[in-house]
């Protein structure tokens, strides 16, 4: 009779398949927990854009942000309300709006 541990081919394959299943499950679990904060950050940037526009409509977008049709084809997009035809007078004490107000929605994405 042989001494020591005897490995049969069936046992080896069973162990191999078990390891494969465990590895696959761990990869799937990791994919599930590996989330990104980018959508939240982009959403906040979109809201920032809306806020800043209330103070100054002439400022240009920084290069890391795009909006409108420049976002076509992007998978990560946030929305920002775009107020047009609105004449805002803003100073330290009051702000008044004149003319008609038209609110459209713009897409915002990372550049």
């Amino acid at each position: 009779m042989k001494k020591g541990v005897v490995f049969t081919m069936d046992a080896a394959f069973a162990l191999y398949i078990s390891l494969l299943v465990m590895g696959t499950m761990m990869v799937l679990l990791e994919a599930d927990t590996n989330y990104s904060d980018d959508p939240l950050a982009l959403s906040r940037l979109a809201k920032d854009l809306y806020e800043v526009r209330k103070y100054d409509l002439t400022l240009n977008l920084p290069s890391f942000i795009k909006k409108g049709s420049a976002c076509d084809g992007k998978t990560l997009i946030a929305a920002v309300q775009n107020v047009t035809y609105r004449d805002i007078q803003y100073d330290d004490y009051s702000w008044t709006t004149k003319s008609s107000v038209s609110i459209t929605t713009d897409k915002v994405c990372y550049g």
Binding site: F7, L19, R44, D48, V52, Y55, L59, P62, I65
Partner: protein, 143 residues
């Protein structure tokens, strides 16, 4: 007969041992990577929250009791500096700045240059006299 005799059993056991060693090594790498990711998520959450508080409250311009979100007052910059030094302590470091305003920078515990794990939060802001591009508040928290 001299020499080593390899049987199928030995080959199978070597294969299994190899798989187990490889799998264990991979697991250690995963754990290390996961720890780094978890730490980054915490840093990112901290940087994001600080930037949010800064633009919506700490730095925000006030007029007749109304807070103007995202309109920052350079005169309130020291308040942000004080808040950050209270919230973040070593081994963590931090850095904050407003684009086009070299006078508005904060460097805490050596800043974030050459740090391994750096989280960055960027927010669009406005201040009186801003021109050209929309100014950007950048907050970095790192370790």
């Amino acid at each position: 007969m001299k020499g080593q005799l390899f049987t199928m059993d030995v080959l199978a056991s070597v294969l299994i041992v190899t798989i187990i060693v490889a799998f264990t090594t991979w697991e250690f790498e995963q754990v290390y990577s996961r720890a780094s990711d978890t730490q980054y998520e915490k840093l990112n959450s901290l940087a994001s929250d600080i930037a949010q508080m800064a633009v919506k409250n700490i730095l925000a311009n006030r007029s007749r009791g109304t807070i103007r979100a995202n309109w920052i007052e350079p005169g309130r910059w020291d308040l942000l500096k004080g808040n950050m030094s209270e919230m973040i302590s070593p081994p963590y470091s931090y850095y904050a700045m407003v684009s086009s305003r070299s006078d508005l920078t904060i460097t805490g515990y050596g800043g974030c240059d050459a740090k391994a794990n750096v989280a960055v939060a960027r927010r669009l802001v406005y201040f009186r006299g801003a021109s050209g591009e929309i100014p950007v508040l950048t907050v970095k928290v790192c370790v």
